[in-house]
Amino acid sequence: MKLNNKFICIVLPLIILPILLVGFNAYQYLYQNSKTKALFVMHSQLDHVQQQLLQELRLVQANLQLLASDTQVQQYALTEDEYNRIGIYQPAVLKRFHKYHLAHPNYLEIRFVLPDGFQESYWSAPLHYQGDKDEAQSVWLKTLKHSNLKTIKELYLDQQPLLKAYQELRIKNQATEGYHDEKQLRGYLAVTVQLNWLLEAMKDRSSEQGQLMALMHSNGSQAVGNSKLEPKIRQVLAQYITDSSAALNSQHASAEISIDQESYFISSRKVWGEYFLVAMIPKAQVNMAAQKLSSGLIFITLSVIAITLILIMLVLRNTVVKPLQLLSLASKKIGEGQLDTKLNLGTSFEFKELSTSFNLMSDKLKKSAQEIQFMAYHDSLTRLPNRRMFQYLLSNNLASAKRKKETLALLFLDLDNFKTINDDLGHEVGDLLLKSFAARISTTLREEDTIGKDDVTQDLDLVSRLGGDEFTVVLPHLHNHVDASVVAQRIIKAMQTVFKIENHQFYVSTSIGIAMYPADALDIEGLVKCADIAMYNAKNAGRNTYKFYMQSMNVAIINRVKHESELHTAIEKKQLILHFQPQVNIQSKGFYGVEALVRWMHPQRGLIPPNDFITLAEETGMILELGKWVLFESCRKAKAWAELGVSNFKVSVNVSSVQFQRQDVTKLVAQALQESQLAAEFLTLEITESVLMSAEDSNRQTLLDIKKMGVSLAIDDFGTGYSSLSFLRQFPVDTLKIDRAFIVQSNREPEVRAIISAIITMAHALKLTVVAEGVESESELEFLISSDCDYVQGYYYSKPLSEDKFLEFYKKEMVNTQGGSNIQ
């Protein structure tokens, strides 16, 4: 059963029962009331008519007395001469009678009747003219004659009810009769009064409740009523009158009588003598009045019920059912997963509270559901999208790009030396680092104004963590490759800031591989693969860099993998050897130092130049082992040479930037020096500009420590990077080695010569010695001399030499320049 119906089932009886109870009582009350009212009307009407009749009677008697004492009437009556009584006096008397009629229009006849019953003076209204009359045998005359009565009255009750009043006229003739003479009877004054008001008075108000009213003689012989009086009714009325008049207190008493099985209320009044007023109301009529009222009451009751029902339903619907329906609907919605459903149940306090609770619940549900969903699609550590989300986001972006014919880039990022950090400092630190790293990438992207600013894809969603230290960045809506490279550069640059995790400080670099849609691949799998390859390539390219995917990378990778394993073997099997290229003082032309350069003696391919495997070593991390070997071997050779007397010159050893990133170079140098017992002053470390650039703080400290040991520092390939001379001031660098490219171009391009001159001038200003690399011709040498360059290195003097050949070169130089070593 619906709540609505249930409520009605409970409430309706609560309303109906009192109404019915009230209705029943009201019916009772109304019945009693209408009975009382009907009886009251009956009684008051009886009283009223009775009083009117008695009043009329009193008035008639008064008028008769007035007439009896009228001078002209008396003159007339006293005139014994009959002729004169008529001839002289009667006209005046008739005139007098007429005047009484004028005052009382219902006096139809006024007469003077002689004692013998002859009606001598007869005045009548023309329409009621009765003519002569001899009343000698009249009852009234006999009654008056044979009793002490002076007046008598009679009622004639038919359709024209009449009252006849008689008054004896007994006067003394003052002129002829003495004081002691008795008053003689002269005749009788008689008035006939038409009681035309009586019928009206009896009809008045009675018809509305079917009341019967009659004026009648107690024996029923005469009667007049407001309706036709059947003999049977007349008989009943007469019976009642007889019965009730026997009772002492008939006034205002009423009774119930029955005629033809119909009940009536009846009451009567005595008028005078045997004349009675009687009134009768059918009981059914009284009931009908009550019934009429009660049927109205029933209608009202039904109306009230109907209205109440409607009101209850409306109120219930609005205050209870509707809110409950809303609540149920909202719950259903929530069940269906529409967790942002809000509920407003109106202002009623309970429902307001319910609303609030519901909304709170819905909010909490929504939040936890969102969390669950978030966790399913996001990495719990970094809160970045996970691999699954990445796939989804990428496919979305791809679809959008396809539709809009836009370019899209997929970046693969990898922390270059995360594994080491994780191994050395533990997972907790590793996790925190990953978190910071992720944050930094996201921040970087968010700072990006021109790229990735899109209302569809949020910044956060551009970055995903695929697992471990692998991250991806999706860059939609690109114009070209350059946009992607700008982002990659920004990311790389962002990594140059130190990471502070707990008490540790790290410099972390990243390798970025970039795959472009639609240039490189058209689907997710393709893009992922290309980006992966590109990243791998970037790692091989020495890390801390980015690479775009190229087709050739596939081949290079295959080669690289091969070289990688071979290189491992090379180090183990000592297929690596050192060659040495002399450096010459440009002024003295004397021997100044030597740069140790590694060579791979490949069993099949012969001597492999460093360019072919150094990059691979850096990419694979084998540079660490290789660099260490070069450093240690160089130190050992130098010591060995010194013991042979070949000494007092500097041996320059290349240290890769990768080594600075992943090795404690200071410690390494110290070990090398200690192991070889070589004096530090004879060792120079050649580093690239990138070492300075990428690690301002940690590398600088390393360099200072190394410098403190007495080891010299040289910047290799200067001019290819982005460092400036002023920048170099921060570092304890002793020597600049100008890149061979400048020297090669110096022959042809005056601008390059100007640059070289400037570099040299400024280096000198910074108290740096300058070494020009790759000098191959006389003209180059002459230019360098004119430019005041300090030392040169190159084929012009000597190509890199094996140890044996270098020792020969050294002996020859020593011969040429006696004790020509020049130590600065």
Binding site: Y83, I86, G87, I88, Y89, Y122, S124, A125
Partner: protein
């Protein structure tokens, strides 16, 4: 006519004389109860001057009213009274009349009139006689009125324009005449018919008041076209209009005789009789007859009257016309009572002005 004008002229000339004479009449005032306009003022003045008395006239306009006036004071208050012959014996029985002394001018009176009504010979002197007929506007009726029947069952042109005399006996008796009955009938049936006739006639009646015959008469204005009227009064109206006609109806009218006498209550009986004697001086009687246009019972005076007066059929109807006419006779009380009763009902329908 000429004479009347002369009389008027004379009256105007003599008025100051009358006025002068008044202060001389110190003690005696003679009170006369009479019909209105039934004395010649010149004669009155003449008598007052001659006998140094003041004559005070009281008027009545119907027999009933006169009876009422007399009854009210028990016959007191008047010295001289003019009474219709039918009432003379009643007045005598009431003791209101003084017996007649020998009078010088009695010799001139036609004795014929003395025996018509009981008691007249001993108590009263005939004054004038006349008839009761119909006066009507001959110019306002489509055909001449010649009968009571025309009068009591009037045509449309008469309806609402009929006047009566406020006298039960006259009205009921003439109604009886119109029905062909005697004016003195005692028959219940005939009276019943008369009553019914009058009840039916009632709506056509304009007034029960006897119209006046001065210049503002309702007959002159045409408000009343026909009226029950005493013969002489018609002649007074005819002085003012040639359209007035008088008829003694075919059914016959009433021949009436007025008598003059002295009341028993009078304190100036001698003077009163002297006044009556004065009026019966042939010369005076002739003057009076010509003034009021009635036939005088004074034979000596009659001889003095001009021929035109004597030949006037209104004043002296032909014997033929008089044949159907009747003197009123004393009715039995109960009969009379019926007459009164009938008239009282007519009166309710047309209450007379309460001028009296």
């Amino acid at each position: 006519m000429l004479m009347l004008r002369k009389a008027c002229l004379l009256a105007i000339i003599l008025l100051p004389v009358i006025a002068q004479a008044q202060p001389d009449t110190v003690a005696k005032t003679l009170s006369i109860l009479n019909w209105d306009d039934y004395l010649d003022p010149l004669l009155v003045a003449k008598f007052e001057r001659q006998f140094k008395v003041k004559i005070k006239q009281s008027f009545y306009e119907s027999d009933d009213y006169r009876d009422e006036l007399m009854a009210a004071e028990g016959g007191r208050g008047y010295d001289v009274v003019v009474v219709s012959g039918i009432m003379v014996d009643s007045y005598r029985r009431q003791g209101w009349l003084a017996s007649k002394p020998e009078m010088a001018n009695s010799q001139h009176i036609n004795t014929k009139w003395e025996g018509v009504f009981k008691g007249c010979k001993e108590y009263m002197v005939p004054y004038f006689w006349g008839t009761l007929g119909i006066a009507y506007r001959q110019d306002l009726v489509s055909e001449p009125i010649t009968s009571w029947k025309q009068f009591f069952t009037p045509k449309e042109e008469l309806s609402g324009k009929i006047a009566l005399i406020n006298s039960g006996r006259d009205v009921v008796s003439m109604a009886l005449k119109s029905l062909g009955f005697s004016a003195n009938t005692g028959s219940h049936a005939e009276l019943k018919e008369a009553r019914e006739l009058l009840m039916a006639f009632s709506p056509h009646v304009k007034t029960l008041n006897y119209i006046n015959f001065g210049e503002n008469s309702a007959m002159l204005s045409g408000e009343v076209v026909a009226s029950m009227m005493y013969s002489g009064d018609t002649l007074m109206l005819q002085e003012l209009s040639d359209d007035i006609s008088y008829v003694l109806p075919a059914e016959g009218g009433n021949i009436w005789v007025d008598y003059i006498g002295v009341t028993e209550a009078s304190t100036h009986k001698e003077l009163a009789w002297t006044f009556i004697n004065f009026l019966n001086e042939p010369k005076n009687a002739a003057q009076l007859a010509q003034h009021i246009y009635y036939a005088t019972p004074n034979t000596a005076a009659e001889k003095l009257l001009p021929e035109a007066f004597v030949d006037n059929s209104v004043i002296y109807p032909s014997n033929k016309a008089l044949d159907e006419s009747e003197y009123y006779q004393v009715l039995s009380p109960r009969t009379h009572s019926r007459y009164n009763s009938i008239f009282s009902q007519l009166k309710q329908l047309h209450p007379p002005d309460e001028a009296q």
